[in-house]
């Protein structure tokens, strides 16, 4: 069916699918007005000055506001120019087509949704604990490498992936990434992608579990207040089911108030000797509690625990991000970390092992490029979007916001005292665990200020006082990133309530990270169980597993999934080197490999569509991502350096055990056995991930070569169904779009069934 085209002067074209009704699409010229040119030139100039201040001028006092300016200006320019290039030249959205939301509208999961609401919805779905943790760990290498990767990475890799996957899923009736991989790359590539997603989910849950345990171990305040989130969520669930169904925001506000009370109550627990004793739990106990909780949460009904906690975490997420942004802008902290530390040069940092390349780029995954987003961008959001052209604002735009969250986390981490940062992030095997030993350790690091001057040695009392200020017994070796971020946030937020409020803000930050992570543990276990039961349902005789309402099957599969991540979690918390140090790289590799799968699918589709000359747009981030992840995997598998290579470490400990020796950090022969077993498992996980991705990429290359030779191949793109609705593409309607909206109003019609923008 051919659309009716009408030229409106000034290069504006409007389209109608039904000549009797108002237009359903507007196309405008890409040229900028003189005023817009001046504005963008000014933004570019401010951005350039900010970049110069942080990258070249540096000096003794670098203010954190420059980071915010460099990030925001770069985002604006990238969104206006690079994202638009992708839109006009590569993806070429057609608003005359129906989106899945319009075509299959059922009032539930398929439903056209106002673009401004959808942007919030999509952002809430992609933002989690990842962008807050990775940058904090990467800060050990200095502020500059992390900042550059977060900002440049999002512009050329992360946002491109999210945007392109979203567009392609819209064109394929909202299919998921796994389904698209199967359709476009054939059975082998599709199968490898699904196994990849499943195993990656397991490792991600385990590592997030280690992060939350790192924040709660030996912290009665944290354990008590985070523990209270469970009864609060249960209460909310019962309220929504039996008392006032649908009163989501009402109960969420009640829930948030209860959460704040729980944080305050945690302070009393902390100060009461008997209660503090009861709620002081070690890592292994917490790991078992988390495993039991994860299983219970995954088999309990959604309405009772998952749904209410999800509402809470959405509120807390948005609230915390806004508070953090305000805090940074108001308190304008000065950066304490140099642009590049000695650990950035030699790769011997204590927070995670390995050199800047490739390990910085896998440590900061979310925030720059996160494969997990491809799972949200395909499937969920495409079923809600009104117009194809809105994917730029929703896909590319939301990812820019997530990158901004990562920048704020980095700023919070680099603006705390370096001694405190390293005392918190080095494993106990290095710091010794006591203030005296830790002070000796950090004083021996030879730390330097941003201007290159050696830092003065600290007194152990400083570390003890810092712990007292935030209501903790100790801040030494609180690895995992979450406690450091919480500490940074307590300093940034001290403009509100002064230093007396530090402990509150610290536990506020711990609480919201724990909420995020508990939701991911629960939801991730459910998704993994679903995928697992679907997969084993294909085995003859086990077909019943495919039925999701079969409770016994759901229990068995949940148990298997929980056993999977639970064993890695226990392995991590018992690891003498600290789980974060050894396992965080696997988490990053897993997430980045998922991104590689997503970018591969996207590139293959472009080549099949005969857009070979634009394949570089997803192709360059794909190549970069493959270089980073495969060389990191290679080092993790083949490096001779025990600190980096899993198998090298394995061999070292096996040789020592056989010689009857005990190597530090192990303290006993059991510790030795643990290290030997853990390194073997970690090494094999690295191999599995690398092989899966190579299979996907080879399958895609075969398809691409075939397609390039034939000058294009058919893809699984759905047929063009003419749209009947209209909505602007950006936040604000342009004058030409407003004119069309006015036509709808004059005709007495709603341009779209939901959301009446004015």
């Amino acid at each position: 069916m051919k659309a009716h085209v009408e030229e409106r002067g000034d290069g504006v074209t409007v389209y109608r699918n039904d000549p009797a009704r108002p237009p359903i699409a507007v196309e405008e010229p890409q040229t900028l007005t003189p005023r817009a040119k001046v504005i963008f030139a000014l933004i570019a100039l401010v951005g350039a000055i900010a970049w110069a201040m942080i990258a070249i001028v540096r000096g003794e006092d670098v203010n954190a506001v420059w980071f915010v300016a460099a990030a925001v200006c770069t985002y604006v320019i990238a969104f206006r120019f690079y994202a638009r290039l992708i839109e006009y030249r590569v993806l070429q959205p057609r608003d005359t087509r129906m989106t899945p939301a319009e075509e299959f509208e059922n009032g539930k999961d398929f439903m056209p949704t106002d673009r401004r609401i959808l942007v919030g919805h999509h952002f809430a779905a992609i933002a989690g604990a990842g962008p807050l943790v990775g940058p904090v760990l990467a800060a050990q290498m200095g502020y500059l490498p992390g900042t550059m990767w977060i900002i440049i990475g999002v512009v050329f890799a992360g946002a491109v992936q999210d945007y392109m996957v979203m567009h392609m899923s819209i064109r394929r009736r909202g299919r998921s990434l796994g389904q698209m991989a199967r359709d476009e790359l054939g059975a082998v590539g599709g199968w490898a992608a699904i196994v990849g997603v499943l195993t990656i989910m397991i490792i991600i849950i385990a590592v997030l579990g280690i992060v939350v345990i790192g924040a709660l171990a030996e912290s009665p305040w944290g354990v008590f207040s985070v523990g209270l989130t469970i009864p609060i969520a249960l209460f909310m669930g019962v309220y929504l089911r039996y008392l006032r169904p649908g009163a989501v925001n009402e109960i969420s506000i009640i829930g948030v108030v209860l959460l704040i009370l729980a944080i305050l109550a945690g302070g009393w627990v902390h100060n009461s000797p008997t209660l503090a004793e009861t709620f002081t739990l070690d890592k292994v106990t917490l790991a078992w509690l988390l495993i039991i909780y994860g299983f219970a949460a995954a088999v309990l009904p959604v309405w009772l625990l998952l749904a209410p906690r999800d509402y809470l975490s959405t509120f807390m997420k948005v609230g915390t991000i806004v508070l953090l942004a305000l805090g940074i802008l108001i308190s304008m902290p000065t950066v304490q970390m140099p642009a590049l530390t000695q650990f950035g040069r030699d790769g011997t940092g204590p927070a995670f092992a390995g050199s800047l390349f490739p390990f910085l780029f896998i440590t900061i995954a979310c925030g720059a490029l996160s494969g997990f987003h491809a799972l949200i961008s395909s499937g969920t959001t495409p079923k809600l979007i009104e117009k194809e052209s809105q994917a730029r604002m929703i896909g590319y735009g939301s990812m820019l916001t997530e990158s901004f969250v990562a920048i704020m986390a980095l700023v919070a981490a680099v603006s705390i005292d370096q001694h405190i940062y390293f005392a918190m992030n080095a494993p106990a095997a290095l710091t010794g665990g006591t203030p005296e030993a830790a002070a000796e350790y950090v004083n021996g690091l030879g730390l330097m200020g941003p201007g290159g001057a050696a830092l003065q040695n600290i007194d152990p009392a400083l570390l003890q006082q810092a712990a007292v200020d935030v209501g903790e017994k100790s801040i030494i070796s609180r690895t995992g990133g979450a406690p450091t971020l919480a500490f940074g946030m307590s300093e940034v937020m001290s403009f509100l309530g002064g230093s007396g409020m530090k402990a509150f803000w610290y536990h506020f930050a711990v609480m919201f990270e724990a909420l995020f992570i508990l939701t991911t543990v629960d939801a991730g276990t459910r998704v993994a169980r679903f995928m697992f039961s679907d997969a084993i349902g294909n085995i003859p005789g086990l077909g019943r597993f495919k039925d999701p309402s079969w409770r016994v099957g759901a229990w068995i599969c949940s148990l298997i999934v929980v056993a999977g991540w639970g064993s890695i979690l226990l392995m991590g918390v018992k690891d003498p080197l600290g789980g974060i140090y050894t396992l965080f790289p696997l988490f990053g590799i897993a997430n980045q490999l998922l991104a590689a799968i997503a970018l591969t699918v996207v590139t293959a589709i472009l080549v099949k569509q005969g857009k070979l000359k634009w394949a570089w747009i997803p192709g360059i981030p794909l190549a970069w991502d493959l270089i980073v992840t495969l060389s990191a995997s290679y080092q993790k598998i083949f490096s001779d350096v025990p600190a980096i290579g899993y198998f090298a470490n394995h061999d070292k400990f096996v040789a020592a055990r056989d010689a009857g020796k005990i190597l530090a950090p192990a303290k006993s022969i059991e510790d030795m056995e643990k290290v030997i077993r853990n390194t073997m498992i970690q090494g094999w996980l690295s191999i599995i991930y690398a092989v899966l991705v190579i299979v996907v990429v080879v399958a895609a290359l075969v398809v691409m070569v075939k397609a390039a030779r034939a000058g294009g191949l058919p893809t699984s793109e759905a047929e063009d169904v003419p749209s009947k609705i209209f909505a602007p593409r950006g936040f604000r309607a342009t004058p030409a779009e407003q004119a069309v909206l006015d036509e709808w109003a004059q005709a007495g019609l709603d341009p779209t069934p939901v959301g009446r923008p004015h």
Binding site: A125, G246, W303, L306, T314, S549
Partner: protein, 84 residues
Amino acid sequence: MGSGRPRSNPGRATPLTDATITSRVRAAARTLRWYVRGVTGADAYERYCEHLTRTHPDEPLPAERDFWREKYADQERNPKTRCC
């Protein structure tokens, strides 16, 4: 009750009397409510009813309680992932 964004006044310059300030504050509050309810999904029932009356006017509307039960049951059958 419709689920669309509340209509605001056209941007005409009106003198700032107490009445116009109150009405503007009300309009802003309505917009905020519309937005928050949209993002958290609290408006799901209204939107479903609106959808049903528009596309299948003969079908009876579900009770709000039953709608939410069904919605969570759906979530149970089709789990959605959260990001890390």
